[in-house]
């Protein structure tokens, strides 16, 4: 994926070159942040766009005082449980549909009907059923993440190399062992792809649910600090949840590359 057409720096000693390259690569972002700093309080009112220095100060304060952690942990808990359940159910459903016709006949129509519904449109339904709070947020994260995982594990399980299955059968593998020892391992890479697609969706679903149907969590904190006019806190929390989402995606990719050594 890494692309190297942007300006390359050459002719420097290796360690310095790496640092210089990184610097040059990120200059545009530096320019933007500088413009933001300059614009704040001059072009636009400081209240409407607090300067980056203020926002960073606010982030540091939120972390030092520990105010943010209770909300952050709740948000992470919701993501963790919702995503975890969707992985469990999604893999079972995807592999089950691929290996068994009755299962596929039963569930296929539900999947193709719910596929085009943006799952965040179901937040009001979640409030209806579960009230405002953690359960509603978990339900939305679960539903939003389910489909990419089902689709990827389904496709993977359909495409399992038939030679593998035959070889295993010839060696006397039982049906149950076949599932655990042959089918699941062969589908793991695609399941990982499904989870990789689901992680950013999980964050969108989480924040949507917390904006509309919550009284805790980072999304709730963003909305309420905006409503009471505490804009530095609002921006600080947006940066925090974005950083968490970024780390989650990158962390997952790194782990996957390390675990999936055989691909």
């Amino acid at each position: 994926m890494r692309h190297a057409t942007s300006r390359r720096i050459e002719g420097l000693p290796a360690p310095i070159q790496g640092v210089a390259q990184t610097l040059v690569d990120w200059i545009p972002l530096g320019i933007l942040v500088l413009l933001w700093e300059l614009a704040s309080g001059t072009v636009v009112a400081e209240a409407v766009l607090p300067p980056p220095t203020t926002v960073v100060g606010e982030i540091v304060e939120l972390i030092v005082t520990g105010d943010v952690f209770s909300h952050l942990f709740i948000s992470l808990f919701r993501i963790g449980v919702g995503l975890g359940l969707s992985i469990l159910a999604g893999v079972l459903l995807g592999v089950g549909m691929a290996r068994s016709d009755p299962v596929e006949n039963f569930f296929d129509i539900f999947l193709s009907m719910t596929y085009p519904i943006p799952k965040t449109a179901l937040v009001p339904l979640a409030i209806l059923w579960l009230g405002v709070g953690t359960e509603a947020a978990i339900l939305i994260v679960f539903l939003a993440c389910l489909l990419p995982i089902v689709l990827n594990s389904y496709n993977a399980a359909v495409d399992v190399d038939q030679n593998l299955v035959w070889s295993a059968q010839m060696m006397g593998t039982s049906d149950r062992e076949m599932l655990y020892k042959v089918i699941f391992p062969a589908t793991v890479p695609e399941i990982m792809t499904g989870i990789r697609q689901a992680v950013p969706i999980a964050f969108i679903a989480l924040v949507s649910a917390e904006l509309i149907a919550s009284n805790q969590g980072i999304g709730y904190l963003i909305l309420t600090s905006g409503q009471i006019g505490n804009y530095p806190t609002m921006f600080a929390n947006i940066v925090i949840i974005s950083a968490v989402a970024f780390v989650a995606v990158r962390g997952f990719e790194e782990t996957r590359d390390r675990v999936l050594v055989w691909t």
Binding site: R7, V48, M113, P118, T120, P124, I127, W129, L206, S242
Partner: protein, 261 residues
């Protein structure tokens, strides 16, 4: 949806059986839904009988409320998506063709794409208010990233052989872009639109739920707040139709535009 598979004439029984197999679960669920609702096994507020929801859906459609709110939602989502499509394709293609543009946008895209865009709704309420303009800008900003990234990556992957061949035959830079690069990158660009379309609806719905101002999202949340659960379900049915319709439309456009692949 209620395709009842009567074996009329029985001329193609296997096909009828196939259809029956693929929809029987839905029929069972819908019947169960109605029965459970009618018997009052689940409280009306949580799960009204299907017939009550359909009646409400028809009522809202006939008095124009549903159509008007659907129009508001679609207007916001599609105008925003159109703006993002134009800007995204321009930035994406330029990034792939020009080092300086790439140098500038690469870190911005790397940082901008992972931001859970929904979290910026309160910011857009602060900057642009809660009206149509604010929602449209929000949709445009949110859907810009997938469009730009797909346009960039697919333009980069255009085979250099194609470009060299065209250049050797004396194609001008401008014609090269329109006649060689863009057609070759079109499948990837359309994939970007297909990712961005549901995102535009997501942003619009959530914005409408948070800030009001009409639209299907506002209709849904109003149903929750006034304890009219039929209205919530009716709005979700409308959303499902819109989602299916737009999805079909994009697939159809794709197959028409890409008939040569």
């Amino acid at each position: 949806m209620d395709v009842t598979a009567d074996a009329e004439g029985g001329f193609d029984l296997s096909r009828v059986i196939d259809i029956g197999k693929s929809i029987y679960s839905l029929v069972i669920l819908l019947v169960l839904w109605e029965v459970v609702g009618q018997l009052g096994l689940i409280h009306y507020y949580f799960l009204p009988p299907l017939s009550a929801i359909i009646a409400r859906f028809i009522e809202l459609t006939l008095n124009g409320e549903m159509l008007y709110n659907a129009y508001l939602t679609l207007y916001r989502a599609l105008v925003g998506l159109a703006i993002a499509s134009v800007l995204g394709v321009i930035v994406g293609v330029l990034s792939a063709r020009n080092d300086l543009v790439d140098w500038f946008f690469d870190p911005i895209i790397k940082i901008g794409y992972p931001i859970p865009i929904i979290s910026l709704i309160p910011v857009f309420m602060l900057w642009f208010g809660i009206g149509d303009i604010s929602k449209i800008i929000m949709v445009a900003v949110g859907t810009f990233w997938p469009v730009a990234i797909n346009a960039r990556d697919s333009t980069r992957q255009v085979q250099t052989n194609l470009i060299w061949s065209a250049q050797m035959m004396g194609t001008s830079d401008r014609r090269l872009l329109w006649r060689v690069v863009m057609p070759a990158a079109l499948p990837g660009i359309l994939t970007g639109f297909q990712i961005a379309m549901p995102l535009s609806l997501i942003i619009t719905f959530v914005f409408e739920m948070v800030a009001g101002g009409g639209g299907l999202g506002a209709l849904e949340i109003a149903g929750v707040r006034s304890f009219q659960s039929e209205q919530v379900y009716a709005a979700i049915i409308a959303i499902m139709f819109i989602g299916i319709g737009l999805d079909r439309l994009l697939r159809f456009t794709r197959s028409r535009l890409l008939h040569w692949t």
